[in-house]
């Protein structure tokens, strides 16, 4: 199985989620993260103290899929999360050795 990790713009979350559902992905896990990269944060000024944090709020999506599904999932996310401007984010794919569904104890592909 593969773990597909996507770092995307927060407002794209719904689009990506819907696209993944449409592509047959049944589950995923989402968290709020901060990203550093090419995209620069806004300058914030608090009573004369100036901060350019370079920290941009992002959403991280983690989804584990069967090996065969991985390419399509990457494709789907890339399209749905795409705006064409800097900071659109990244997708990373890793191997997953084992998966377990806690409720049933099912393992690997059947656990997804």
């Amino acid at each position: 199985m593969k773990l597909v990790i996507a770092i995307i713009k927060p407002f794209k979350l719904d689009d990506v989620r819907e696209a993944l559902s449409a592509a047959g992905v049944q589950g995923m896990t989402v968290s709020e993260v901060k990203g550093f990269g090419r995209q620069k944060g806004q300058t914030e000024i608090y009573r004369g103290a100036e901060y350019t944090t370079n920290m941009v709020p992002k959403i991280k999506i983690e989804v584990v899929v069967e090996d065969g599904q991985s390419a399509q999932v990457v494709e789907t996310i890339q399209q749905a999360a795409h705006t064409g401007s800097i900071g659109d984010g990244k997708i990373f794919v890793q191997d997953v050795g084992q998966a377990v569904r806690i409720r049933t104890g099912e393992t690997n592909e059947t656990a997804l």
């Binding site: 407002f11 806004q42 300058t43 914030e44 000024i45």
Partner: protein
């Protein structure tokens, strides 16, 4: 407040009190009758005769009421609204409300008070008191009782808080998608062209000791005789329709109807709603301009109408969704506050409950079914709560003010001291309806013109990117929360 030409709603009980102490009332009236000027500045103008002296208890209450109305605006209204937007727009809403207060204060003392509360024509006052010219610490303002005066400065301050909160209410209708600078320009224009004239039309009159001798010195709607104790038309209908017009012209938020836009902090909304309720005691009971039994009645009605409305909204939710909600409870409460505003000095505590309940149910239908049907994006339901609730209140006042239902009726000020006038519910209802329609047309029309002009010139809406990123960062360069 609007009153019948020959009368003010202060009803029979009051008259009884006066009758029980006629020497007091007559004496006071006599003192004032010798002073030719109206509504203010008596002492300075005529030092030779004994000037009316303000009761320190009345003054104490009006100072307090002024502070309460301001508390209701900031932080009250700001938090009520702010909690309902997404966190990325929180500061934008807080800043809008805060700075509207600041800017309107400046306008008010510069020319606003003069335009609203001096004698001019029926539609607008004069510039006689521009820069508060002639107002001193011993100038007096008339109340609704013969011979009772308060320091003019406290009247100016109290009325100023009303001028501050009204445009503050409007911003909820197009929250999360308006340019701060353009909004400020709008507010300056709107209070000048809409608020001051309407306040003048509805609230300006010569005062109880002078009406007999100056029987045409009043604003247009006041002269028509509508009853509006604390500003249902001037404040709520006025702001509510302007908000609707604004949200239609500005358009929907990006993602409206597609992305979820849940309130980012109902806790702030609840704090805001509670402060609105508390501050509204100053708003309604302060509008009596005195500290007496009628003031206390206005406060009581502000309790019970609100309570009835909160309970009604929650019950309707329970029935329609199977669950009540906190946001429902507090929204109901606000709809009740809006509805009782014009009626607070006329109703009984029991009829107030009914008025509040009716308002909550009608507003509920507007904020849920009708808004969803019509698909306009009144972000925080300014129209559905303030305009609709204000109309229910304005019309309902005709009912609950009826002495036959225990209401306070109105006073005939053409005689001194004033006596109870003859009340007819049907006539009064038509009068109320006219005030509503005039306000809707004037405020709606002028607001539309203003919004359109601004839209075409300096632009009302931030860029798509700015809106997406949130107005806090894009317009103010700040985040509400940094953990």
């Amino acid at each position: 407040m609007t009153f019948d030409l020959k009368s003010l709603a202060k009803g029979a009980a009051f008259v009884a009190l006066f009758a029980a102490a006629p020497s007091f009332a007559q004496e006071a009236a006599a003192v004032v009758a010798a002073v030719p000027d109206v509504a203010a500045a008596v002492a300075a103008a005529a030092p030779a005769v004994a000037a009316p002296v303000a009761d320190k208890g009345d003054t104490a209450w009006m100072l307090t009421a002024t502070a309460l109305v301001f508390l209701m605006t900031i932080p009250g209204l700001a938090l009520f609204y702010g909690g309902l937007v997404r966190s990325k727009n929180m500061l934008s809403v807080l800043t809008q409300v805060f700075m509207i207060c600041a800017i309107v204060c400046l306008i008010w003392v510069t020319y606003g008070y003069s335009l609203a509360f001096t004698s001019g024509n029926e539609f607008i006052g004069s510039l006689d008191k521009i820069f508060l010219k002639g107002v001193t610490t011993s100038s007096m303002a008339a109340t609704f009782s013969n011979g009772v005066y308060i320091p003019e400065y406290v009247f100016i301050a109290f009325q100023m808080t009303f001028a501050c909160i009204t445009p503050g209410l409007i911003v909820g209708a197009f929250a999360e998608r308006v340019k701060f600078s353009s909004l400020m320009v709008f507010v300056v224009l709107w209070v000048t062209i809409v608020y001051f004239p309407i306040a003048h039309m509805v609230w300006y009159w010569a005062g109880p000791d002078f009406l007999r001798d100056a029987p045409t010195d009043y604003g247009y709607l006041w002269g028509k005789g509508a009853l509006d104790f604390a500003g249902g038309t001037v404040v709520h209908i006025n702001a509510g329709i302007a908000g609707l017009v604004g949200c239609l012209i500005i358009g929907k938020r990006i993602g409206f109807g597609k992305e979820p836009m849940p309130p980012h902090s109902l806790v702030m909304t609840m704090i805001g709603a509670s402060l609105l309720w508390v501050g509204w005691f100053g708003f309604n009971a302060g509008s009596n301009l005195e500290s007496n039994g009628l003031t206390a009645l206005a406060m009581m009605n502000t309790f019970t109408a609100t309570a009835g409305a909160a309970v009604a909204w929650m019950l309707v939710e329970q029935v329609t969704h199977g669950k009540p909600s906190m946001l429902g409870g507090v929204t109901g409460a606000v709809s009740g506050l809006v509805a009782i505003t014009p009626a607070s000095g006329f109703a009984t505590p029991m009829t107030s409950i009914l008025l509040g309940m009716v308002a909550a149910i009608v507003c509920y239908v507007f904020c849920t079914t009708i808004k969803n049907k019509l698909k306009y994006d009144d972000s925080l339901d300014v129209f559905g709560v303030h305009c609709v609730g204000g109309i229910i209140g304005a019309l309902g006042t005709a009912i609950v003010a009826d002495p036959a239902l225990g209401g306070q009726g109105f006073l005939d000020y053409t005689v001194i001291p004033a006596v109870a006038g003859a009340y007819d519910m049907g006539t009064q209802m038509l009068t109320q309806g006219r005030a509503v329609v005039v306000t809707l047309i004037w405020s709606g029309g002028v607001s539309a013109v203003l919004f359109l002009i601004l839209d075409k010139t300096i632009g009302l809406r931030p860029t798509v990117e700015a809106e997406r990123e949130g107005l806090d960062i894009s317009e103010l360069g700040e985040r509400a929360y940094n953990n």
